[in-house]
């Protein structure tokens, strides 16, 4: 494993600990007087009505799905983008065709109404 990735691994450990330490310090510095009224869930100053569960709109799922498809396609483009010096014109046009299909897909999703937020 190259030492570059080792740095990132160590950075990950450090960065998981560094915010934790002040939070722990504040836990000891701050007053601790829990009572049942303070721990109630906030609902604009009144008592909570109903379950925490609300019915979500399907638009969230649509946006996440569209994002997933585009994410996968864009990730394919990164190796293509760095190989420009070695590619032929056919290679560049193949990537452009890929992008045009992506574009057509955005238009299809738009026409189907997947990008609306009603």
């Amino acid at each position: 494993m190259v030492s570059n990735w080792l740095f990132i691994g160590i950075f990950l450990l450090i960065v998981a600990i560094f915010p934790g330490a002040p939070i722990l310090i504040a836990y000891f510095l701050a007053p601790r007087k829990p009572n049942s009224l303070k721990s109630q869930i906030y609902e604009c100053g009144i008592e909570t009505v109903g379950d925490t569960w609300v019915q979500f709109k399907v638009q969230y799922y649509n946006f996440a799905l569209t994002f997933l498809i585009f994410d996968v396609e864009i990730v394919f483009l990164f190796p293509w983008a760095i190989a420009f010096n070695q590619l032929s014109i056919f290679g560049v046009l193949a990537g452009v065709l890929f992008l045009v299909i992506l574009f057509a897909e955005l238009l299809a999703a738009w026409q189907k109404g997947a990008l609306e937020w009603v």
């Binding site: 190259v2 740095f7 002040p22 504040a26 721990s39 994410d71 560049v92 992506l102 937020w117």
Partner: protein
């Protein structure tokens, strides 16, 4: 002289030789050096936030025609210190029914996701945390971790407003991640490499001159990713009542706050590294300390740009937000990538000079902006004019009616 002109490498070499001289194994020496580097970067960034917060408050104040904080310290510059003391000593109120482990993990994860971004940005000619060759994808990946932290914060609070706020935040962030990755693809094509260090090294001409539209798209989408105005409807008080961090108090909320400011600064750093040449400037190669100063100056200038936009533009609605992201930014970014790719390959084959390259790319960008302006104008012209809402009408008062246009007394 080497200490003054290249302090980081000098000190790093000195410590490394010291540790090797004590007879430690090379792997252990590497680990200790990495720990020191990571620790210094994290602490420096967390302390930098102190300056950033007070700077932002004073600038926003000035943009709104008032002084910012001006009581504590000279010109109010020490304001963040009493603020920090206050936040440290506030009580942690955990909502009932909250998922304790995830509830506590979320602010730590949000801050980590921001600090991790600093590992791959080059600060000076040979000073970079980690020179991995997939730096651009690493930036996107760490952004994804930040999105996840917000989702965790939202649903672990056992509060339906937090849940709704978290979902909207995530919908906003993922909608703007696609044009952001596409805009980041442009410097990757121009530099032929995915490593941030190599992109900075390849910028003999800053990429903002080659691809100003990509810079603009990255600026807009980065601000939407961070959740700053004008895209901050998720945290604004009048909107969803503070969104996903309703149930957080004390230092946990403090860390979300810190993470937001630091994220804005970090993303300015990323924009500078990708488009504005990072540490490049006159004399930066011979005196690396100058490179670091240039990098900081440029990052602060872009950060000032984000504060300026925050103070000037009104907030957008969620449907306007998502519509703008998907229907305008994604097609523009896709067309930009297509044209940049084709033009770059053409010029590579024809072995064009630098000036021709600059001119061709600049022309492509400006043409796209022109096309966009024409399309916007056409849309504006086609939108029906709003009818006047109120018409003057007679107001009846008993037997005497007051005509509508009487001059007021």
């Amino acid at each position: 002289m080497a200490l003054l002109s290249d302090p980081v490498i000098f000190i790093a070499n000195w410590i490394e030789n010291l540790l090797l001289g004590w007879g430690l194994a090379p792997l252990l020496v590497t680990i200790i050096m990495d720990l020191l580097g990571a620790g210094i970067i994290s602490v420096a960034m967390l302390l930098l936030v102190v300056i950033l917060i007070v700077l932002e408050r004073k600038l926003i104040g000035r943009l709104q025609g008032r002084f910012g904080p001006n009581r504590v310290g000279p010109y109010g510059l020490l304001q963040t210190i009493p603020d920090m003391i206050k936040i440290f000593t506030k009580e942690y109120i955990t909502p009932q029914g909250a998922d304790i482990f995830i509830y506590n993990l979320a602010p730590i994860m949000a801050t980590s996701a921001v600090l991790l971004l600093w590992a791959v940005i080059p600060y000076a000619p040979r000073v970079v945390g980690s020179d991995i060759n997939v730096g651009v994808l690493y930036l996107v990946a760490v952004g994804a971790l930040g999105t996840l932290a917000i989702l965790l914060a939202g649903f672990s609070s056992n509060n339906k407003y937090a849940l709704l706020g978290a979902f909207r935040t995530v919908a906003q962030m993922i909608s703007y991640e696609v044009p952001m990755v596409l805009a980041l693809l442009v410097p990757v094509i121009l530099a032929r490499s995915m490593g941030v260090n190599e992109i900075v090294n390849a910028q003999y001409v800053w990429y903002v001159i080659l691809a100003p539209l990509a810079t603009l798209i990255l600026f807009i989408t980065a601000m939407a990713e961070v959740g700053r105005a004008p895209f901050d409807l998720l945290e604004a008080e009048s909107e969803i009542v503070a969104g996903f961090h309703i149930e957080y108090s004390g230092l946990k909320f403090g860390f979300f706050y810190v993470a937001e400011f630091l994220h804005a600064f970090t993303i300015s750093g990323v924009i500078v590294a990708m488009f504005f040449g990072g540490w490049r400037g006159p004399g930066a190669e011979t005196y690396p300390i100058l490179g670091f100063i240039y990098f900081m100056i440029k990052t602060f200038l872009i950060y000032f740009g984000t504060i300026w936009v925050r103070g000037s533009l009104p907030r957008v609605r969620i449907d306007q937000l998502l519509g703008f992201g998907w229907k305008i930014l994604v097609p523009v970014a896709l067309t930009l990538v297509i044209f940049t790719a084709v033009a770059e390959k053409m010029m590579f084959l024809m072995a064009a000079t630098v000036i021709v390259r600059i001119l061709v790319h600049l022309v492509i960008n400006l043409l796209l902006v022109l096309v966009l302006i024409v399309i916007f104008r056409a849309q504006e012209a086609r939108r029906p004019l709003r009818k006047p809402v109120a018409e003057p009408r007679t107001v009846a008062l008993g037997r005497h009616s007051v005509p509508p246009e009487s001059p007021s007394a």
